[in-house]
């Protein structure tokens, strides 16, 4: 099982700060697709992803128990 955390407006879009879902064996990019579809999140692909509080790239594989977080980069200033 995996814990998937959502930051900022992603949290509102999903409706929860985190969800529990088994995505072990999947790539980060596949998880993004899966969740983007399930929660109709337009711009998840450009979100930064972290696995266990460490930066991860789209090709990284998720293992059982990993905690994944999505953080949308913003440009305001």
């Amino acid at each position: 099982m995996n814990k998937i955390l959502f930051f900022a407006h992603l949290k509102d879009a999903v409706g929860e700060e985190f969800i529990q879902m088994d995505v072990s064996g999947k790539k980060v990019s596949e998880v993004k697709e899966l969740i983007a579809k399930e929660y109709q999140l337009g711009k998840l692909e450009s979100a930064m992803a972290a696995i266990n509080e460490e930066f991860s790239s789209d090709d990284d594989l998720i293992q059982s128990g990993d905690e994944i977080a999505f953080i949308p980069p913003v440009s305001g200033g």
């Binding site: 930051f7 900022a8 407006h9 949290k11 700060e17 337009g42 711009k43 450009s46 930064m48 972290a50 509080e53 460490e54 930066f55 991860s56 790239s57 977080a69 953080i71 949308p72 980069p73 913003v74 440009s75 305001g76 200033g77």
Partner: protein, 339 residues
């Protein structure tokens, strides 16, 4: 003489020798909006040697809620932000040499300015300029500190050439987003929290306390009570075109830049962005109407009334800004809405 810096010199990691270092440093700050106001004020109060500020905008009423250098009088006089900022900063600390430039921070200008700079502070409002800063930072080996915010959400990351990943390692390309302070708003506490992170890192760099640098990517949401600190050591990408082994500094190349041109005799500026994502016009339309914008559209374009200007946005990100011949103003309007 140093009485005014005494509380900063009492802080052990700075001390009298750190204060001497701070006094000799030259910081380049891109942007004098919300992040720029507060970053500029803190560095000026800290007693840096010289601060160069670049900003293309004028002070407007809607800035006053969060841009701490400006007053109602600056709005009435429609002062350029760089000019109003310089005036206030000089009243705050006459020790600091303040150099303000009213204009758009293009790659050419950045290359020009960067010569004797010790640190670049990011206080801009768009990724286009940030990616140019990032390339300049790598090309000239100058640290820079990313900071950005929208709503109650903000983030910061310190980039030190040769030591940390760069912004292009993290993002790979300019993200298609669309949440900006002009579309979803911003509260002042968010600005201050980003600036707190940026200026703490700035002081570490200015006193050359390299061991203290934060190597994690910080993001937080003050309304949703979230805080995250992500380790970034794995983010360094040897294939990165900005900092990798075969670097080309893509965001300094003309063909990759946002293009803007005045359309002959039409009081209109055309803007073609560098990013290649498609814009979701429906989402943008829903977003902008309901706010204080009047929006009309069809499946191919969106027309947005913005005071004396009208912006027509096409699906591929191209836009026409009617009612101006000023390229820098047009780019500002574009990036406020589209990031």
């Amino acid at each position: 003489m140093y009485e005014r810096y005494s509380r900063q010199m009492l802080f052990t990691p700075i001390g009298p020798s750190g204060q001497e270092k701070i006094r000799t440093k030259h910081v380049l700050m891109i942007g004098a909006g919300a992040l720029g106001s507060s970053n500029g004020e803190i560095l000026t109060r800290a007693g840096i040697g010289k601060l160069t500020i670049v900003d293309r905008d004028y002070v407007e009423a809607s800035n006053l809620q969060r841009q701490q250098l400006y007053t109602e009088e600056d709005v009435e006089r429609k002062l350029p932000k760089a000019v109003a900022a310089e005036r206030r900063l000089k009243a705050i600390n006459s020790d600091v040499d303040i150099c303000s430039i009213v204009g758009d921070a293009t790659p050419e200008m950045l290359e020009e300015l960067v010569k004797d700079i010790d640190l670049i502070i990011d206080a801009t409002d768009n990724f286009e300029t940030r990616m140019a800063i990032n390339d300049i930072s790598q090309k000239f080996q100058i640290p820079w500190i990313y900071g950005a915010c929208v709503g109650s959400f903000g983030m910061s990351f310190t980039i030190i050439p040769g030591q940390t990943p760069c912004l292009n390692c993290l993002l790979k390309s300019i993200p298609v987003q669309g949440q900006t302070c002009d579309t979803v708003g911003i509260i002042a506490p968010t600005v201050q929290m980003v600036v707190a992170h940026q200026t703490a890192e700035a002081l570490k760099i200015l006193v050359e306390d390299w061991d203290a640098i934060r190597h994690s990517f910080v993001s937080f949401d003050l309304w949703r009570n979230q805080y995250s600190s992500i380790k970034m050591s794995k983010a360094k990408d040897e294939g990165c075109l900005s900092c990798g082994t075969a670097r080309t500094y893509p965001y300094l190349e003309k063909e990759n830049l946002m293009k803007s041109e005045v359309l002959c005799g039409r009081d209109t500026v055309q803007i073609r962005p560098s990013k290649h994502g498609e814009i979701d016009l429906n989402e943008l339309s829903t977003h902008l109407s309901g706010l204080h914008y009047e929006v009309k559209g069809n499946p191919y374009l969106l027309s947005v009334e913005m005071g004396t200007n009208r912006m027509v946005i096409f699906k591929d990100g191209r836009a026409l800004i009617h009612g101006t011949k000023d390229i820098s103003q047009a780019r500002s309007i574009y990036q406020r809405i589209l990031g």
